[in-house]
Protein backbone atom coordinates (compact mmCIF):
# COMPACT_ATOMS: atom_id res chain seq x y z
CA UNK A 1 0.00 0.00 0.00
CA UNK A 2 1.62 3.20 -1.19
CA UNK A 3 0.77 6.54 0.31
CA UNK A 4 -0.19 8.86 -2.53
CA UNK A 5 -1.67 11.55 -0.32
CA UNK A 6 -0.18 15.02 -0.78
CA UNK A 7 1.84 16.21 2.24
CA UNK A 8 -0.80 18.78 3.30
CA UNK A 9 -3.55 16.15 3.49
CA UNK A 10 -1.25 13.74 5.30
CA UNK A 11 -0.35 16.39 7.84
CA UNK A 12 -4.04 17.27 8.31
CA UNK A 13 -4.85 13.61 9.01
CA UNK A 14 -2.06 13.33 11.55
CA UNK A 15 -3.20 16.47 13.35
CA UNK A 16 -6.82 15.34 13.33
CA UNK A 17 -5.92 12.09 15.07
CA UNK A 18 -3.51 13.65 17.56
CA UNK A 19 -5.73 16.66 18.20
CA UNK A 20 -8.81 14.50 18.62
CA UNK A 21 -7.07 12.33 21.15
CA UNK A 22 -5.76 15.40 22.94
CA UNK A 23 -9.35 16.62 23.35
CA UNK A 24 -10.33 13.22 24.72
CA UNK A 25 -7.40 13.30 27.16
CA UNK A 26 -8.11 16.82 28.39
CA UNK A 27 -11.91 16.88 28.37
CA UNK A 28 -12.56 15.22 31.77
CA UNK A 29 -9.95 17.38 33.48
CA UNK A 30 -11.24 20.60 31.93
CA UNK A 31 -14.81 19.62 32.80
CA UNK A 32 -13.94 19.37 36.50
CA UNK A 33 -11.93 22.57 36.51
CA UNK A 34 -14.62 24.71 34.85
CA UNK A 35 -17.48 23.37 36.94
CA UNK A 36 -15.63 23.78 40.23
CA UNK A 37 -15.97 27.56 39.75
CA UNK A 38 -19.70 27.58 39.04
CA UNK A 39 -22.80 27.87 41.17
CA UNK A 40 -24.83 24.74 41.82
CA UNK A 41 -27.66 25.48 39.36
CA UNK A 42 -25.13 26.29 36.63
CA UNK A 43 -23.32 22.99 37.18
CA UNK A 44 -26.53 21.14 36.44
CA UNK A 45 -28.06 23.38 33.78
CA UNK A 46 -25.06 23.71 31.56
CA UNK A 47 -22.12 21.54 32.59
CA UNK A 48 -20.19 22.17 29.38
CA UNK A 49 -20.19 25.98 29.62
CA UNK A 50 -17.36 28.09 31.01
CA UNK A 51 -18.18 29.99 34.19
CA UNK A 52 -19.58 33.45 33.45
CA UNK A 53 -19.99 36.53 35.64
CA UNK A 54 -23.43 35.30 36.76
CA UNK A 55 -22.51 31.67 37.35
CA UNK A 56 -19.10 32.27 38.98
CA UNK A 57 -18.99 30.86 42.50
CA UNK A 58 -16.29 29.78 44.94
CA UNK A 59 -18.68 28.26 47.45
CA UNK A 60 -17.24 24.78 46.95
CA UNK A 61 -13.70 25.90 47.76
CA UNK A 62 -14.87 27.79 50.84
CA UNK A 63 -16.57 24.68 52.15
CA UNK A 64 -13.64 22.39 51.41
CA UNK A 65 -10.97 24.66 52.82
CA UNK A 66 -12.80 25.81 55.95
CA UNK A 67 -14.93 22.85 57.00
CA UNK A 68 -12.91 19.82 56.02
CA UNK A 69 -9.51 18.36 56.73
CA UNK A 70 -8.41 18.58 53.09
CA UNK A 71 -5.62 21.11 53.88
CA UNK A 72 -4.25 18.72 56.50
CA UNK A 73 -4.39 15.79 54.05
CA UNK A 74 -2.28 17.89 51.75
CA UNK A 75 0.31 18.36 54.46
CA UNK A 76 0.38 14.61 55.15
CA UNK A 77 0.90 13.77 51.48
CA UNK A 78 3.64 16.36 51.24
CA UNK A 79 5.51 15.00 54.29
CA UNK A 80 5.21 11.38 53.15
CA UNK A 81 6.22 12.09 49.56
CA UNK A 82 9.17 14.36 50.36
CA UNK A 83 10.54 12.11 53.12
CA UNK A 84 10.25 8.97 50.96
CA UNK A 85 11.89 10.73 48.03
CA UNK A 86 14.84 11.94 50.07
CA UNK A 87 15.44 8.45 51.46
CA UNK A 88 14.99 6.71 48.10
CA UNK A 89 17.36 9.08 46.30
CA UNK A 90 20.04 9.19 49.00
CA UNK A 91 20.10 5.48 49.86
CA UNK A 92 19.44 4.49 46.25
CA UNK A 93 22.37 6.55 44.96
CA UNK A 94 24.65 5.20 47.70
CA UNK A 95 23.75 1.60 46.86
CA UNK A 96 24.04 2.26 43.13
CA UNK A 97 27.52 3.69 43.68
CA UNK A 98 28.64 0.68 45.71
CA UNK A 99 27.22 -1.78 43.17
CA UNK A 100 28.84 -0.11 40.15
CA UNK A 101 32.14 1.09 41.62
CA UNK A 102 33.36 -1.70 43.86
CA UNK A 103 34.03 -5.30 42.95
CA UNK A 104 33.03 -7.74 45.66
CA UNK A 105 31.78 -11.28 45.70
CA UNK A 106 28.09 -10.74 46.44
CA UNK A 107 27.72 -7.92 43.91
CA UNK A 108 25.80 -9.85 41.24
CA UNK A 109 23.54 -11.51 43.76
CA UNK A 110 22.68 -8.23 45.44
CA UNK A 111 21.91 -6.63 42.07
CA UNK A 112 19.62 -9.54 41.24
CA UNK A 113 18.01 -9.38 44.68
CA UNK A 114 17.17 -5.71 44.19
CA UNK A 115 16.06 -6.24 40.58
CA UNK A 116 13.44 -8.68 41.84
CA UNK A 117 11.70 -5.77 43.56
CA UNK A 118 11.24 -3.94 40.25
CA UNK A 119 8.92 -6.59 38.88
CA UNK A 120 7.14 -7.93 41.97
CA UNK A 121 4.68 -5.49 43.54
CA UNK A 122 5.30 -4.86 47.23
CA UNK A 123 1.51 -4.83 47.67
CA UNK A 124 1.51 -8.64 47.68
CA UNK A 125 3.36 -8.55 51.03
CA UNK A 126 0.66 -6.40 52.63
CA UNK A 127 -0.51 -9.01 55.16
CA UNK A 128 2.92 -9.23 56.74
CA UNK A 129 3.66 -5.52 56.34
CA UNK A 130 0.58 -4.73 58.41
CA UNK A 131 1.60 -7.26 61.09
CA UNK A 132 5.08 -5.78 61.16
CA UNK A 133 3.74 -2.27 61.54
CA UNK A 134 1.47 -3.41 64.37
CA UNK A 135 4.48 -4.94 66.15
CA UNK A 136 6.54 -1.79 65.63
CA UNK A 137 3.59 0.30 66.83
CA UNK A 138 3.67 2.30 63.62
CA UNK A 139 0.09 1.83 62.45
CA UNK A 140 -1.58 5.17 61.75
CA UNK A 141 1.71 6.99 61.49
CA UNK A 142 3.21 8.66 58.45
CA UNK A 143 6.48 6.86 59.26
CA UNK A 144 4.92 3.53 58.26
CA UNK A 145 4.06 4.94 54.83
CA UNK A 146 7.51 6.47 54.38
CA UNK A 147 9.24 3.16 55.17
CA UNK A 148 7.05 1.17 52.79
CA UNK A 149 7.35 3.67 49.93
CA UNK A 150 11.11 3.83 50.41
CA UNK A 151 11.33 0.05 50.18
CA UNK A 152 9.10 0.15 47.11
CA UNK A 153 11.03 2.88 45.29
CA UNK A 154 14.59 1.74 45.97
CA UNK A 155 14.96 -1.09 43.40
CA UNK A 156 14.14 1.05 40.36
CA UNK A 157 16.13 4.01 41.70
CA UNK A 158 19.22 1.83 42.21
CA UNK A 159 18.80 0.31 38.76
CA UNK A 160 18.53 3.63 36.91
CA UNK A 161 21.09 5.55 38.98
CA UNK A 162 23.58 2.70 38.40
CA UNK A 163 23.34 3.34 34.66
CA UNK A 164 24.23 6.98 35.14
CA UNK A 165 26.93 6.45 37.76
CA UNK A 166 28.63 3.91 35.50
CA UNK A 167 29.10 6.67 32.92
CA UNK A 168 31.22 8.88 35.20
CA UNK A 169 34.78 8.95 33.78
CA UNK A 170 37.27 6.81 35.68
CA UNK A 171 39.92 9.57 35.57
CA UNK A 172 37.81 11.82 37.72
CA UNK A 173 37.53 9.27 40.50
CA UNK A 174 41.19 8.27 40.19
CA UNK A 175 42.27 11.89 40.41
CA UNK A 176 40.26 12.32 43.58
CA UNK A 177 41.73 9.13 45.05
CA UNK A 178 45.29 10.25 44.19
CA UNK A 179 44.61 13.39 46.16
CA UNK A 180 43.86 11.14 49.11
CA UNK A 181 40.17 11.98 49.33
CA UNK A 182 38.11 9.39 51.18
CA UNK A 183 35.42 7.29 49.49
CA UNK A 184 32.57 9.03 51.31
CA UNK A 185 33.74 12.46 50.25
CA UNK A 186 34.20 11.23 46.67
CA UNK A 187 30.62 10.02 46.68
CA UNK A 188 29.08 13.12 48.22
CA UNK A 189 31.27 15.79 46.65
CA UNK A 190 32.19 14.33 43.26
CA UNK A 191 29.68 11.65 42.27
CA UNK A 192 26.43 13.02 43.65
CA UNK A 193 26.76 16.49 42.05
CA UNK A 194 27.61 14.84 38.71
CA UNK A 195 24.48 12.68 38.63
CA UNK A 196 22.19 15.47 39.82
CA UNK A 197 20.16 15.53 36.56
CA UNK A 198 19.59 11.78 36.87
CA UNK A 199 18.58 12.19 40.50
CA UNK A 200 16.02 14.82 39.51
CA UNK A 201 14.67 12.51 36.82
CA UNK A 202 14.34 9.49 39.09
CA UNK A 203 12.84 11.77 41.74
CA UNK A 204 10.02 13.09 39.61
CA UNK A 205 8.78 9.77 38.42
CA UNK A 206 9.25 8.02 41.76
CA UNK A 207 7.13 10.74 43.30
CA UNK A 208 3.98 10.27 41.23
CA UNK A 209 3.02 6.75 42.39
CA UNK A 210 3.71 7.71 46.02
CA UNK A 211 1.56 10.83 45.87
CA UNK A 212 -1.25 8.92 44.15
CA UNK A 213 -1.21 5.68 46.14
CA UNK A 214 -4.49 4.62 47.71
CA UNK A 215 -3.70 1.10 48.95
CA UNK A 216 -1.15 1.68 51.72
CA UNK A 217 -2.79 4.80 53.21
CA UNK A 218 -6.03 2.81 53.33
CA UNK A 219 -4.38 -0.08 55.15
CA UNK A 220 -1.55 1.40 57.19
CA UNK A 221 -2.73 4.93 58.01
CA UNK A 222 -6.51 5.34 57.65
CA UNK A 223 -6.78 7.42 60.85
CA UNK A 224 -8.34 10.88 60.68
CA UNK A 225 -5.08 12.70 61.25
CA UNK A 226 -2.84 10.60 59.01
CA UNK A 227 -4.85 10.38 55.78
CA UNK A 228 -3.06 11.39 52.61
CA UNK A 229 -4.76 13.56 50.01
CA UNK A 230 -5.63 10.59 47.80
CA UNK A 231 -7.36 8.69 50.60
CA UNK A 232 -8.81 11.90 52.00
CA UNK A 233 -10.40 12.92 48.72
CA UNK A 234 -11.76 9.40 48.28
CA UNK A 235 -13.47 9.54 51.69
CA UNK A 236 -14.49 13.15 51.28
CA UNK A 237 -16.32 12.26 48.06
CA UNK A 238 -18.10 9.43 49.82
CA UNK A 239 -19.21 11.73 52.62
CA UNK A 240 -20.27 14.72 50.55
CA UNK A 241 -21.44 12.92 47.43
CA UNK A 242 -24.46 15.18 47.06
CA UNK A 243 -22.58 18.45 47.61
CA UNK A 244 -21.38 18.83 44.03
CA UNK A 245 -19.70 22.19 44.57
CA UNK A 246 -17.57 20.80 47.38
CA UNK A 247 -16.73 17.59 45.53
CA UNK A 248 -15.69 19.42 42.36
CA UNK A 249 -13.62 21.86 44.43
CA UNK A 250 -11.93 18.98 46.28
CA UNK A 251 -11.12 17.28 42.98
CA UNK A 252 -9.73 20.55 41.61
CA UNK A 253 -7.53 20.98 44.68
CA UNK A 254 -6.21 17.46 44.13
CA UNK A 255 -5.56 18.04 40.41
CA UNK A 256 -3.83 21.43 40.57
CA UNK A 257 -0.59 20.45 42.37
CA UNK A 258 -0.07 17.64 39.87
CA UNK A 259 -0.59 20.08 36.99
CA UNK A 260 1.92 22.53 38.50
CA UNK A 261 4.56 19.86 39.14
CA UNK A 262 4.07 18.42 35.68
CA UNK A 263 4.44 21.86 34.11
CA UNK A 264 7.71 22.35 35.99
CA UNK A 265 9.23 18.90 35.52
CA UNK A 266 7.67 17.36 32.42
CA UNK A 267 11.03 17.30 30.62
CA UNK A 268 12.78 15.39 33.42
CA UNK A 269 9.84 13.05 33.72
CA UNK A 270 9.71 12.22 30.04
CA UNK A 271 13.48 11.86 29.92
CA UNK A 272 13.31 9.44 32.83
CA UNK A 273 10.74 7.22 31.18
CA UNK A 274 12.50 7.20 27.85
CA UNK A 275 15.93 6.64 29.45
CA UNK A 276 14.57 3.66 31.36
CA UNK A 277 13.14 2.21 28.17
CA UNK A 278 16.16 2.55 25.93
CA UNK A 279 18.55 1.02 28.42
Amino acid sequence: MRSLAPPALRSATIHTVLGGYTLLALFPIVLVLINAFKSRPAIFDNPLALPTAETWSLVGFERVLSKSAVPMFFGNSLIVTVASLVLILLFGAMAAWALTEYRFRARRWLTLYLAFGIMVPIRLGTVSILQLMVQLDLVNTLTALVLVYTAQGLPLAVFILSEFIAQIPQDLKDAARCDGIGEFRIFFQVVLPLVRPAVATVGVFTMVPIWNDLWFPLILAPGDSTQTITLGVQQFIGQYATDWNAVLAALTLAIIPVLVIYALFSRQLIRGITAGAVK
Binding site: T22, L26, P28, V32, L87, M119, L124, V148, A151, A277
Partner: protein, 304 residues
Protein backbone atom coordinates in the same frame (compact mmCIF):
# COMPACT_ATOMS: atom_id res chain seq x y z
CA UNK B 1 40.04 -3.12 41.34
CA UNK B 2 39.41 -0.53 43.99
CA UNK B 3 41.10 -1.10 47.28
CA UNK B 4 38.46 -0.16 49.78
CA UNK B 5 37.59 -1.91 52.97
CA UNK B 6 34.50 -4.13 53.08
CA UNK B 7 33.22 -1.82 55.77
CA UNK B 8 33.06 1.07 53.36
CA UNK B 9 31.15 -0.98 50.79
CA UNK B 10 28.78 -2.12 53.52
CA UNK B 11 28.20 1.43 54.72
CA UNK B 12 27.08 2.47 51.24
CA UNK B 13 24.85 -0.55 50.74
CA UNK B 14 23.41 -1.12 54.16
CA UNK B 15 20.68 1.55 54.41
CA UNK B 16 19.09 0.57 51.09
CA UNK B 17 19.41 -3.18 51.68
CA UNK B 18 18.07 -2.93 55.21
CA UNK B 19 14.93 -0.98 54.32
CA UNK B 20 14.29 -3.04 51.20
CA UNK B 21 14.75 -6.30 53.07
CA UNK B 22 12.71 -5.44 56.15
CA UNK B 23 9.80 -3.71 54.45
CA UNK B 24 9.61 -5.44 51.08
CA UNK B 25 11.48 -8.72 50.62
CA UNK B 26 10.87 -10.31 54.04
CA UNK B 27 7.16 -9.33 54.22
CA UNK B 28 6.67 -10.85 50.79
CA UNK B 29 8.30 -14.12 51.82
CA UNK B 30 6.45 -14.09 55.13
CA UNK B 31 3.13 -13.52 53.36
CA UNK B 32 3.80 -16.50 51.11
CA UNK B 33 4.52 -18.54 54.26
CA UNK B 34 1.36 -17.35 56.03
CA UNK B 35 -0.76 -18.71 53.19
CA UNK B 36 -0.01 -22.19 54.55
CA UNK B 37 -1.41 -21.46 58.03
CA UNK B 38 -4.90 -21.29 59.51
CA UNK B 39 -6.09 -19.33 62.52
CA UNK B 40 -8.30 -21.24 64.98
CA UNK B 41 -11.01 -19.76 67.20
CA UNK B 42 -8.56 -18.92 70.00
CA UNK B 43 -6.49 -16.89 67.53
CA UNK B 44 -3.57 -19.33 67.47
CA UNK B 45 -2.02 -20.21 64.12
CA UNK B 46 -1.39 -23.74 62.92
CA UNK B 47 0.38 -25.05 59.88
CA UNK B 48 -2.26 -26.41 57.54
CA UNK B 49 -0.42 -27.24 54.36
CA UNK B 50 -2.41 -26.49 51.24
CA UNK B 51 -5.77 -26.27 53.05
CA UNK B 52 -6.31 -22.57 52.28
CA UNK B 53 -5.52 -23.04 48.62
CA UNK B 54 -7.75 -26.07 48.48
CA UNK B 55 -10.61 -24.02 49.99
CA UNK B 56 -10.02 -21.08 47.67
CA UNK B 57 -9.96 -23.15 44.53
CA UNK B 58 -12.63 -25.73 45.26
CA UNK B 59 -14.95 -24.77 48.17
CA UNK B 60 -18.13 -23.43 46.49
CA UNK B 61 -18.34 -20.50 48.95
CA UNK B 62 -14.86 -19.31 48.01
CA UNK B 63 -14.07 -20.63 44.59
CA UNK B 64 -16.95 -18.86 42.85
CA UNK B 65 -15.65 -15.51 44.08
CA UNK B 66 -12.04 -16.34 43.30
CA UNK B 67 -12.62 -17.60 39.78
CA UNK B 68 -14.96 -14.69 39.08
CA UNK B 69 -12.22 -12.27 40.12
CA UNK B 70 -9.67 -14.17 38.06
CA UNK B 71 -11.86 -14.16 34.95
CA UNK B 72 -12.66 -10.47 35.37
CA UNK B 73 -8.98 -9.70 35.83
CA UNK B 74 -8.16 -11.56 32.64
CA UNK B 75 -10.81 -9.58 30.80
CA UNK B 76 -9.44 -6.37 32.31
CA UNK B 77 -5.99 -7.29 30.97
CA UNK B 78 -7.24 -8.32 27.51
CA UNK B 79 -9.10 -5.03 27.09
CA UNK B 80 -5.88 -3.17 27.94
CA UNK B 81 -3.98 -5.25 25.40
CA UNK B 82 -6.64 -4.71 22.75
CA UNK B 83 -7.17 -0.98 23.32
CA UNK B 84 -4.42 0.66 25.37
CA UNK B 85 -1.37 -0.72 23.61
CA UNK B 86 -2.58 -0.33 19.98
CA UNK B 87 -3.71 3.25 20.72
CA UNK B 88 -0.36 3.90 22.40
CA UNK B 89 1.41 2.49 19.35
CA UNK B 90 -0.67 4.61 16.96
CA UNK B 91 -0.04 7.82 18.90
CA UNK B 92 3.67 7.06 19.25
CA UNK B 93 3.97 6.27 15.54
CA UNK B 94 2.33 9.59 14.60
CA UNK B 95 4.40 11.56 17.13
CA UNK B 96 7.65 10.08 15.89
CA UNK B 97 7.04 10.96 12.23
CA UNK B 98 9.42 13.63 11.07
CA UNK B 99 8.12 17.16 10.71
CA UNK B 100 4.96 16.83 12.83
CA UNK B 101 4.48 20.29 14.29
CA UNK B 102 3.81 20.46 18.03
CA UNK B 103 4.81 16.83 18.66
CA UNK B 104 6.36 17.76 22.01
CA UNK B 105 3.19 19.57 23.12
CA UNK B 106 0.95 16.65 22.10
CA UNK B 107 3.24 14.23 23.91
CA UNK B 108 3.19 16.31 27.09
CA UNK B 109 -0.60 16.67 27.15
CA UNK B 110 -1.34 13.06 26.22
CA UNK B 111 0.75 11.88 29.14
CA UNK B 112 -1.06 14.09 31.65
CA UNK B 113 -3.93 11.73 32.67
CA UNK B 114 -1.36 9.09 33.69
CA UNK B 115 -0.14 11.37 36.48
CA UNK B 116 -3.48 11.99 38.13
CA UNK B 117 -4.60 9.81 40.97
CA UNK B 118 -6.99 7.00 40.14
CA UNK B 119 -9.37 8.42 42.72
CA UNK B 120 -9.70 11.61 40.67
CA UNK B 121 -9.93 9.77 37.36
CA UNK B 122 -12.51 7.32 38.66
CA UNK B 123 -14.70 10.03 40.08
CA UNK B 124 -14.48 12.31 37.05
CA UNK B 125 -15.60 9.52 34.75
CA UNK B 126 -18.33 8.57 37.18
CA UNK B 127 -19.62 12.14 36.90
CA UNK B 128 -19.34 12.18 33.12
CA UNK B 129 -21.14 8.87 32.72
CA UNK B 130 -23.76 9.67 35.34
CA UNK B 131 -27.27 9.84 33.89
CA UNK B 132 -28.03 12.43 36.58
CA UNK B 133 -25.66 14.99 35.14
CA UNK B 134 -26.19 14.03 31.54
CA UNK B 135 -22.86 15.16 30.10
CA UNK B 136 -22.23 11.94 28.20
CA UNK B 137 -25.83 11.88 27.00
CA UNK B 138 -25.56 15.45 25.70
CA UNK B 139 -22.30 14.74 23.95
CA UNK B 140 -23.77 11.67 22.26
CA UNK B 141 -26.71 13.88 21.33
CA UNK B 142 -24.38 16.08 19.24
CA UNK B 143 -23.88 13.06 17.00
CA UNK B 144 -27.52 11.98 17.16
CA UNK B 145 -26.62 9.01 19.32
CA UNK B 146 -28.43 9.94 22.55
CA UNK B 147 -30.57 6.79 22.39
CA UNK B 148 -27.38 4.80 22.73
CA UNK B 149 -26.76 6.16 26.18
CA UNK B 150 -26.87 3.72 29.07
CA UNK B 151 -25.67 4.02 32.66
CA UNK B 152 -22.70 1.90 31.62
CA UNK B 153 -20.99 1.94 35.00
CA UNK B 154 -24.11 0.78 36.79
CA UNK B 155 -25.01 -2.26 34.73
CA UNK B 156 -23.67 -5.70 35.39
CA UNK B 157 -23.03 -6.42 31.73
CA UNK B 158 -21.02 -3.28 30.97
CA UNK B 159 -19.46 -2.06 34.23
CA UNK B 160 -16.20 -4.00 33.93
CA UNK B 161 -15.66 -3.04 30.29
CA UNK B 162 -16.37 0.61 31.13
CA UNK B 163 -13.92 0.59 34.02
CA UNK B 164 -11.30 -1.09 31.84
CA UNK B 165 -11.72 1.62 29.21
CA UNK B 166 -11.41 4.34 31.85
CA UNK B 167 -8.16 2.71 32.93
CA UNK B 168 -7.06 2.53 29.28
CA UNK B 169 -7.85 6.24 28.93
CA UNK B 170 -5.69 7.04 31.93
CA UNK B 171 -2.68 4.86 31.23
CA UNK B 172 -2.34 5.04 27.44
CA UNK B 173 0.49 7.55 27.99
CA UNK B 174 2.85 4.87 29.30
CA UNK B 175 2.93 2.58 26.24
CA UNK B 176 2.89 5.71 24.07
CA UNK B 177 5.99 7.08 25.76
CA UNK B 178 7.93 3.79 25.83
CA UNK B 179 7.17 3.02 22.18
CA UNK B 180 7.93 6.63 21.18
CA UNK B 181 11.35 6.38 22.86
CA UNK B 182 12.07 3.15 21.00
CA UNK B 183 10.93 4.61 17.66
CA UNK B 184 13.09 7.71 17.85
CA UNK B 185 16.08 5.57 18.86
CA UNK B 186 16.00 3.78 15.47
CA UNK B 187 18.99 5.03 13.44
CA UNK B 188 17.84 7.42 10.72
CA UNK B 189 20.08 5.77 8.07
CA UNK B 190 18.09 2.54 8.12
CA UNK B 191 14.84 4.36 7.41
CA UNK B 192 16.44 6.61 4.78
CA UNK B 193 17.90 3.64 2.95
CA UNK B 194 14.42 2.13 2.70
CA UNK B 195 12.93 5.41 1.50
CA UNK B 196 15.60 5.69 -1.19
CA UNK B 197 14.68 2.18 -2.30
CA UNK B 198 11.12 3.44 -2.79
CA UNK B 199 9.37 2.11 0.31
CA UNK B 200 6.19 3.94 1.31
CA UNK B 201 5.85 5.34 4.87
CA UNK B 202 3.35 2.56 5.53
CA UNK B 203 5.81 -0.09 4.38
CA UNK B 204 8.63 1.51 6.37
CA UNK B 205 6.52 1.28 9.48
CA UNK B 206 5.47 -2.36 9.11
CA UNK B 207 8.68 -3.79 7.71
CA UNK B 208 11.32 -1.74 9.49
CA UNK B 209 10.15 0.23 12.51
CA UNK B 210 7.76 -2.32 13.98
CA UNK B 211 10.15 -5.29 13.94
CA UNK B 212 12.86 -3.13 15.51
CA UNK B 213 10.65 -2.14 18.44
CA UNK B 214 9.42 -5.67 19.21
CA UNK B 215 11.45 -5.83 22.46
CA UNK B 216 9.70 -2.65 23.62
CA UNK B 217 6.29 -4.09 22.75
CA UNK B 218 7.26 -7.10 24.88
CA UNK B 219 8.20 -4.79 27.75
CA UNK B 220 4.91 -2.90 27.41
CA UNK B 221 3.02 -6.19 27.52
CA UNK B 222 4.67 -7.40 30.70
CA UNK B 223 4.32 -4.02 32.40
CA UNK B 224 0.62 -4.01 31.51
CA UNK B 225 0.28 -7.56 32.81
CA UNK B 226 1.90 -6.84 36.18
CA UNK B 227 -0.02 -3.59 36.62
CA UNK B 228 -3.37 -5.16 35.69
CA UNK B 229 -3.07 -8.24 37.89
CA UNK B 230 -2.07 -5.97 40.75
CA UNK B 231 -4.80 -3.37 40.10
CA UNK B 232 -7.10 -2.28 42.88
CA UNK B 233 -7.41 1.49 43.14
CA UNK B 234 -9.78 2.21 40.26
CA UNK B 235 -12.34 -0.44 41.13
CA UNK B 236 -12.19 0.51 44.81
CA UNK B 237 -12.48 4.22 44.04
CA UNK B 238 -15.50 3.81 41.78
CA UNK B 239 -17.25 0.73 43.11
CA UNK B 240 -16.00 0.32 46.67
CA UNK B 241 -14.70 -2.91 48.21
CA UNK B 242 -17.71 -4.97 47.10
CA UNK B 243 -16.96 -4.29 43.41
CA UNK B 244 -20.58 -4.05 42.36
CA UNK B 245 -22.97 -4.44 40.72
CA UNK B 246 -23.09 -8.01 41.99
CA UNK B 247 -19.28 -8.46 41.92
CA UNK B 248 -19.21 -7.89 38.17
CA UNK B 249 -16.17 -5.59 38.53
CA UNK B 250 -14.37 -7.72 41.12
CA UNK B 251 -10.71 -8.28 40.28
CA UNK B 252 -7.96 -10.03 42.23
CA UNK B 253 -6.93 -6.82 44.03
CA UNK B 254 -10.42 -6.14 45.43
CA UNK B 255 -10.93 -9.85 46.18
CA UNK B 256 -7.65 -9.82 48.11
CA UNK B 257 -8.73 -6.71 50.04
CA UNK B 258 -12.08 -8.22 51.05
CA UNK B 259 -10.55 -11.56 52.01
CA UNK B 260 -7.91 -9.86 54.15
CA UNK B 261 -10.09 -7.21 55.82
CA UNK B 262 -13.54 -8.69 55.61
CA UNK B 263 -16.66 -6.84 54.54
CA UNK B 264 -20.28 -6.72 55.62
CA UNK B 265 -20.89 -9.99 57.48
CA UNK B 266 -17.70 -11.78 56.53
CA UNK B 267 -14.78 -11.55 58.95
CA UNK B 268 -11.40 -10.83 57.41
CA UNK B 269 -8.72 -13.48 57.55
CA UNK B 270 -5.01 -12.65 57.29
CA UNK B 271 -4.07 -16.22 56.46
CA UNK B 272 -6.72 -16.57 53.77
CA UNK B 273 -5.68 -13.13 52.48
CA UNK B 274 -2.10 -14.35 52.37
CA UNK B 275 -3.24 -17.35 50.32
CA UNK B 276 -4.92 -15.00 47.81
CA UNK B 277 -1.75 -12.88 47.69
CA UNK B 278 0.28 -16.04 47.05
CA UNK B 279 -1.91 -16.97 44.10
CA UNK B 280 -1.59 -13.42 42.73
CA UNK B 281 2.15 -13.72 43.17
CA UNK B 282 2.18 -16.99 41.22
CA UNK B 283 0.14 -15.45 38.38
CA UNK B 284 2.49 -12.46 38.16
CA UNK B 285 5.56 -14.69 38.45
CA UNK B 286 4.25 -16.91 35.65
CA UNK B 287 3.75 -13.86 33.44
CA UNK B 288 7.19 -12.44 34.20
CA UNK B 289 8.79 -15.88 33.74
CA UNK B 290 7.10 -16.35 30.38
CA UNK B 291 8.24 -12.88 29.32
CA UNK B 292 11.88 -13.55 30.17
CA UNK B 293 11.70 -16.96 28.51
CA UNK B 294 10.28 -15.51 25.28
CA UNK B 295 12.48 -12.40 25.21
CA UNK B 296 15.57 -14.36 26.11
CA UNK B 297 14.94 -16.76 23.24
CA UNK B 298 14.25 -13.94 20.82
CA UNK B 299 17.47 -12.18 21.79
CA UNK B 300 19.38 -15.42 21.27
CA UNK B 301 17.85 -15.82 17.83
CA UNK B 302 18.93 -12.29 16.88
CA UNK B 303 22.53 -13.10 17.67
CA UNK B 304 22.72 -15.90 15.06
Amino acid sequence: MNRVSPWQVAAFLLPALLIYTVFSALPLIDTLRLGFYVTDDSGARHFAGLANFHTLLTDPQWSAGFWNAMANNLKFFLIHMAAQNPIGLLLAALLSLRGVKGAAAYRTVLFLPTLLSVVIIGFVWQLILSPLWGVAENLLGWFGLQDWFQPWLGEEGSALTTLSLVSVWQFVGIPMMLIYAALIAIPEEIVEAAVVDGASPWRVFWSIRLPLILPTLGLVTILTFVANFNAFDLVYAVKGAVAGPNYSTDILGTFFYRTFFGYQSQVGSPTMGAAVATLMFLVILAGVGLYFYVVQRRLQRYTF
